[in-house]
Point group: C2
Chain length 416, copies 2
C-alpha cells in the first residue's frame, strides 16, 4: 500500500496544480475558470495513464470510465475539483483522488469488473463564484434552472452563462449533460467531513445518513438615516441597534433546540450589510442573511418561526420596518439506506472505526441522490476546518477512505 | 423684505445649479469636483453682480469681498458649497447664501461699512469623498496635514492631491491659502441645525456655544471562520455573535450618561463589516466603527473607557481576539463667548426666539475658531434631517438668519 499512498500524494499535488500543499493564500480555483480547467486537464491526463476513457459532458463535468461492457450498469464515484476563494486543496479533490486511486488499485491487482466504473469530477460545485452551488451535478440530474441563473454575475461582472461559454460549452445546452452511456446503478461520493465529529471521537470513517440543506432568510430592517453628531439618542431610529439582538437570539435558539436532543440544528447570521456604512451616519438600513441547517425540516421550521416572532417584537419596540424573504428553503435529503448498511460492515471488516452522521454541508451527492441510489463517505479533516487555507486532511485518512471504496466495489462488482 | 426673499430663493437655486430644489436623488456635489466648481462659478457671478471683489485662494476657497479700506480689519461670513453623496441643497449653501444676501441687503440700504466684509465659500467641507472634512478651512488656518492625506482615494481611485490639481490648484501649495488681505476680526458661520432642538422647541435661532468633535474607535474582533453547515454551535468562535452585544451597549451607555444631565453625548456604531460576508461562512472577523461626540471631553472619556471594559468582558467570555484603535480623538471646540453674548440681544431686538446649544456636527468654523474669534448660528431644518435628499430648510428661516446677520453686522461695522 506504500506504493498507492505515494501515488496518491503525487496525484493530490497534480490535481491541485502545485508542488507543495502549503499555500499561504490557499487555493482559488473557482468553477468555470481557467484554473478549474487546468485541474480538469490533469484529471484527464491521470485517467488516461490509468487506461480509462475520458469524456466531458455538456455541463463541463469530467468523466473517467473503466468501460467493460456497453450493456452493463455503471457504478460511479466522484466529487469536484473547484474550490472557494482561498479555500483548501482537499474539499472536492479528496473524492476525485480517492476514486482514481480506487481504480488504480483494482487495476494493479488485476481485478476485472463485470460493471462499468466511472469517476466523475463535477464542475462548479462551490457557490463562491455565482452564489449557486453544484451546477454540474444539477445539470446531470436535469434539475438545473438554467433560465433563472444564467445572468448571475461574479465579482468581475462576468455572468454564469458567459463563464460557461468561455469554457467552450453552450449555456443553452447545459441541461443536456448526462451519463455518457447506460444508467447509473449507484453513486458514492467521498468528501472531507468539514466538521469535528470524526476527529473528536477518533473515528476514521463517517457514513452519512442525510444531508441538511439550508433554509436561508434575507432580512431587511429599515429605520432612518441621520447624522451621528446631531441626532440625539432619543430621536433615533437606528436600524442596526434595532436588529442587533437578533444575532444573539439566533445562536441562543439553536443551542436551546439542540439541548432537547430531538435532532440537531445550526443557525448563523452570516451576512450583514449597513446602508450607509459611514462613520458619521446612523445606519438607516441593515440587510442580514441567516443560514439555517438541520436534517429535520420540523426543527428548521421551529427556528424560522421563532425568528419571525422575534422580529415582530423588534418592530413593535423600535418602530422600524422589517421585511423577510425566504430565499432558499431546501428539504433535507435522505441518502440510500441500503448503501449505508453495506458500507458499515465493510468498514468493520477492514478494522476501520466508523459512525453514522449527518452532513451539514451540501454536496453533489444531494442531487445525484434524487435520481440514483447514492451514498456519502466522510474522512476526518484537521480541526474541522474547510474553505480556508488551513484546510488539511492526512494522507493516511485519504488512504483509509480509498481502501473502503476498493473493498466496497469488490463486493459490489464481482470479477468477471 | 419680499424682494430680498425672492432674490434669496432665486440664488438658492443658482448656487445649487437647479431650477427645482426637489431632487429625488438629492445633490451629489462633492469637494474638488466639476460640480463643486460649477457652484463656485455661480458664487463668483452672483458676488460680482453685487459689486464684490472675487478671489480664489490656494486651497480653492472662494472669497467675495466688500473692500472698503486696505488697512481696515475684515469681518467674514460663510460656509461651504459641496455636499455629501445624495445630500441636500441647504447644508453649506444656507450659510453662503445668507452671507451674500446680507451684503446685498446692506448695499441696497446704502450702508457704507468702515470694515471690509468677506463671504467665504470653503472648499471640500464634507468628508464624503476622501474621508477628511473641512479641507479648505483647515488650509486657511494652516492646520492641514497635507503630507498625510494627499494619497487618500475617492471611490474612483482618484487621490485627494490629484483631485485638487484637477481643479487647477497645486497640492504642495495648498497650505499657502490665506486671507486675501489684512487680518480677520471675526468669522461667523450660519448653518442648518441638522438636529431637532430648534424645531421641537419652536425656536428660530440657535446660538452655538461649542462644537462636539468626534472620538472614533475602530474595533477588530477576530474569531474563527468556518462552514455554517458543518460547524456545531458549541464549536464556533463566531466574531459577529461575540461582538454584537456591543451595539446595544453603546446605545444603553449613552442614554444612561444623558440621564444624569451633566452634559449630553451621542454614540453610534456606524460602520460594520463582516469578513467573510458570505451565506455559508461563519464570520471570522468583524470590523466595527464607533462615532462618539460630546462637548464634554470627560463624558467622551467615560464612554470610551466603558467600551474598553465591555470588550474585555467579551474577550473573556467568547475567546475572541479584539483590537481597538482610536482613529480620531478631537477635543471639543469652544466658540467665542463675546460673539455669543452679542448675538443673543440682537435676536431679542428682532423678536426672534433663540437658544444656546451645542453642535454635534463639525463645521468649517471649528477650524476658524482656533485662529480667530468665531461664532456659529443655526437655523431650523425639517425633522432634523440632513445629508439626505429630504433635507429641507424653509425660506422664512433662511431670511430670519439673514436678518440676524444684517443687524449683527450693523452693530459691529459702523457706517463710515
Amino acid at each position: 500500500m506504500d506504493k498507492l499512498l505515494s501515488w496518491m500524494e503525487h496525484t493530490l499535488h497534480q490535481l491541485n496544480l502545485v508542488s507543495d500543499m502549503n499555500q499561504i493564500d490557499g487555493f482559488s480555483r473557482l468553477g468555470y475558470t481557467k484554473e478549474e480547467q487546468k485541474s480538469q486537464h490533469q484529471f484527464r491526463v491521470i485517467a488516461q495513464e490509468l487506461g480509462l476513457e475520458t469524456n466531458q459532458d455538456f455541463a463541463g463535468n469530467q468523466w473517467a470510465i473503466w468501460k467493460v461492457d456497453e450493456k452493463a450498469p455503471t457504478i460511479a464515484l466522484g466529487s469536484h475539483l473547484d474550490t472557494v476563494y482561498h479555500g483548501g486543496g482537499y474539499d472536492g479533490v479528496a473524492g476525485v483522488l480517492a476514486g482514481l486511486a480506487t481504480l488504480k488499485a483494482l487495476k494493479d491487482e488485476g481485478f476485472q469488473p463485470n460493471k462499468n466504473i466511472a469517476i466523475i469530477a463535477f464542475a462548479c460545485e462551490e457557490s463562491a463564484r455565482f452564489g449557486v452551488s453544484t451546477i454540474g451535478s444539477q445539470a446531470i440530474c436535469g434539475i438545473l434552472k438554467e433560465k433563472h441563473i444564467g445572468h448571475l454575475q461574479d465579482l468581475d461582472g462576468i455572468t454564469l452563462s458567459e463563464a460557461v461559454e468561455n469554457c467552450g460549452l453552450k449555456w443553452e445546452e447545459i441541461n443536456q449533460a448526462k451519463i455518457p452511456r447506460g444508467d447509473l446503478e449507484q453513486f458514492i461520493e467521498l468528501h472531507i467531513e468539514q466538521g469535528k465529529q470524526l476527529e473528536s471521537t477518533n473515528t476514521k470513517i463517517g457514513i452519512v445518513s442525510a444531508i441538511a440543506r439550508p433554509t436561508r432568510l434575507k432580512i431587511m430592517c429599515k429605520g432612518m438615516t441621520n447624522h451621528t453628531g446631531t441626532t440625539r439618542m432619543e430621536e433615533r431610529r437606528d436600524a442596526l441597534v434595532a436588529i442587533a439582538p437578533l444575532i444573539h437570539f439566533v445562536e441562543k435558539k439553536a443551542i436551546e433546540i439542540n439541548k432537547r436532543q430531538e435532532g440537531s440544528i445550526v443557525a448563523t447570521v452570516s451576512k450583514l450589510e449597513l446602508n450607509p456604512n459611514s462613520m458619521s451616519m446612523i445606519p438607516g438600513e441593515v440587510i442580514i442573511g441567516i443560514d439555517i441547517r438541520s436534517t429535520s425540516a420540523a426543527l428548521k421550521k421551529e427556528m424560522t418561526t421563532s425568528i419571525y416572532e422575534f422580529l415582530e417584537d423588534i418592530k413593535r419596540k423600535r418602530s422600524v420596518y422589517i421585511h423577510v424573504e425566504k430565499i432558499v428553503d431546501d428539504n433535507p435529503i435522505q441518502l440510500d439506506a441500503f448503501i449505508q448498511k453495506r458500507l458499515h460492515p465493510t468498514c468493520s471488516e477492514l478494522g476501520f472505526s466508523s459512525m453514522f452522521l449527518d452532513s451539514g454541508a451540501g454536496h453533489d451527492v444531494m442531487n445525484m441522490a434524487q435520481k440514483w441510489p447514492s451514498g456519502l463517505i466522510f474522512i476526518p479533516c484537521r480541526d474541522g476546518i474547510s474553505h480556508h487555507p488551513n484546510e488539511y486532511a492526512e494522507m493516511k485518512y485519504l488512504l483509509v477512505g480509498t481502501k473502503l471504496l476498493i473493498n466496497y466495489l469488490k463486493e459490489l462488482v464481482v470479477t468477471k
